[in-house]
Symmetry: C2
Subunit: 395 residues, 2 copies
Amino acid sequence: MTTTFPELNPPVRVLMGPGPSDTHPRVLQALAKGTVGHLDPYYLETMNGLQEMLRQVYRTKNPMTMAISGTGSAGMEAVVDNLIEPGDKMIVCVNGVFGGRMVDVAQRAGAEVTKIERPWGEVFTVDDLKPVLESVRPKVVGIVMAETSTGAWQPIEEISKLVHSYNALLAVDAVTALGGIPLEVDAWNIDAIYSGTQKCLSCPPGLSPVSFSPAAMEKVMSRKTKVQSWYLDVSMLANYWGQNRVYHHTGPINMTYALYEALRLVLEEGLEKCHARHALNHKALRAGLEAIGIKYSTQEGHILPQLNAVLIPEGIDDAKVRGDLLNRFGIEIGAGLGAYKGKVWRIGLMGYGSRPANVLLILSALEQLLAEQGYQFQRGASIAAATTVYQNAAK
Amino acid sequence: MTTTFPELNPPVRVLMGPGPSDTHPRVLQALAKGTVGHLDPYYLETMNGLQEMLRQVYRTKNPMTMAISGTGSAGMEAVVDNLIEPGDKMIVCVNGVFGGRMVDVAQRAGAEVTKIERPWGEVFTVDDLKPVLESVRPKVVGIVMAETSTGAWQPIEEISKLVHSYNALLAVDAVTALGGIPLEVDAWNIDAIYSGTQKCLSCPPGLSPVSFSPAAMEKVMSRKTKVQSWYLDVSMLANYWGQNRVYHHTGPINMTYALYEALRLVLEEGLEKCHARHALNHKALRAGLEAIGIKYSTQEGHILPQLNAVLIPEGIDDAKVRGDLLNRFGIEIGAGLGAYKGKVWRIGLMGYGSRPANVLLILSALEQLLAEQGYQFQRGASIAAATTVYQNAAK
């Protein structure tokens, strides 16, 4: 009756797509540690440590800084569902898949959404937002700091000032941002922010680190209606993650261990060094790609170091290159999503995966596959260019 | 600036509470296997295997059988949010914490909820439901099969017939049920069901196995309004877990490995044997507890083998016993929740944790701590009684 199912034996991959990125070996070990109860004193202490580390990584003193028991998209829903009451006006900035997702989530939460759009790969300026803020007068503005679908790096600080000058709250998607680029929740006055574990934190997907400012919590605690999601209701989660430790739902113990260890790794390295490492490896990759004529699809000056969205050269078979990378070399890169389907590759250098070995690996593999498809370039040029970047940095 | 956070070093526990239960060593190993991408052919194959095993464990052919990327409470919300449109009438049966939670979740989804109540520890009969169904004529009826707060085992089959005779859909909470007691999704005509990984599946918390019948999916696909949760929208999840494999959110890869391995363990043992093992260890525990005068708080004939809710003997210090069990012997049992606070202990024998060694361990530890608190009983009687049950079973 029962069919036999094979033992788990995942192939060894080098994850250089838009996430998940490679999990750090110490994080894998943390995952496999013995489960304790969700109200065990040791677990509560682990939660405390996790929260304190998360505050350091988010650069915030927000008491309501914690991990939502779901992936980054659950974090998005937690932020939107808690800040929005039915009928509330919200502006959402859309320049890729994840801004679009936020519109959908906000509408389901009953928000009256005004969407501002920029072409894929570009970012928003204060001038784009000002007239819309002026006419809409929203309660909340949502924006994506690191658009995983386009590799665009959205500056937040000036936009935050503008948004607050209109007495709105600012919600930021930092799924791909956290750990990869500088991010200052308090200094930039971000009211609510969410991220994922599977990008620059070198941890498997499954949790969403979030933080809510006192102003955001004031809005949450003074709601006239219940948050539509019981599971994501921050006013209840505050009782579990706060001092009271009142049981809400059973915490995902082993994933919490993993995130704890992932945050330790970031803080051991130091945030600034971690960001500098992401920047350097990106610079090397970019030099390599450009040396063989591959161009970025993202607006100049706003390219994320951890997610390199590049144009597929003309005449090159997208699916074949990605298939060959995976099947022949065990390397995963990302396909284009939505408007970028078939046009763009997304090469991740995230967390543990942002290192010189991976830069050389992807460049040498790409050179080989492009050569096989008749692409014209000087063999070895990408490796030489990347290496020069590292040599100059070491001087 | 950065404080140092200690290395993870969880104490070794024996988890005999209401869940999480002890994670099986093979499941811990599965958790630590290398992360692959969420669209990797290997991961898709693993999802297929997981779904097929889950169908076997749920005893269903439902195509929409999968794991929600959140804990059991996210599964509850997924079931309710998808089946309910604002204004829909729903009857919820409440005889403990989790029925109460379902009321809250359903009201947040916009349901017009009629609550039927039974005292804690008791279960519902067809006669309890019939008049309410007659007067309310609901679209959906929700009921908890294994009330984790009371240890009550709710029969489902006859109630399902009644519910369907009124053309309503039946939603069942099987968080603590799945793997511990017989459960027949198809034969009993259950329309939507959710469970947790951290009870009788010997897996850490973090995922919620769910299944939706064709009738439930028809209701979902013919909704006039969007499901209020984007994250839990089964019409979109069907495109990822179904044949199309359209990206929705990033799957929790390593937790999926863990559930895959946990389901393999259940099927290797065989479902019937697994249920029989839970029944036998419960019988031994019960014989032991009763031999020293400890009584169950649950209605006779409806006691869950995997969750033993017993009355704390008069004069015994609840918190001290639980504290001593944890701190001196490394054993976790559950406190009473809500109406049972300070009155009841909840002793779990779930999954991997349901074994003779754990029965003897908890009985000997309890005997010692009760004796220290001056409780009058014959030392060794519980061990002898439990052992007799095993000897008789072996004959």
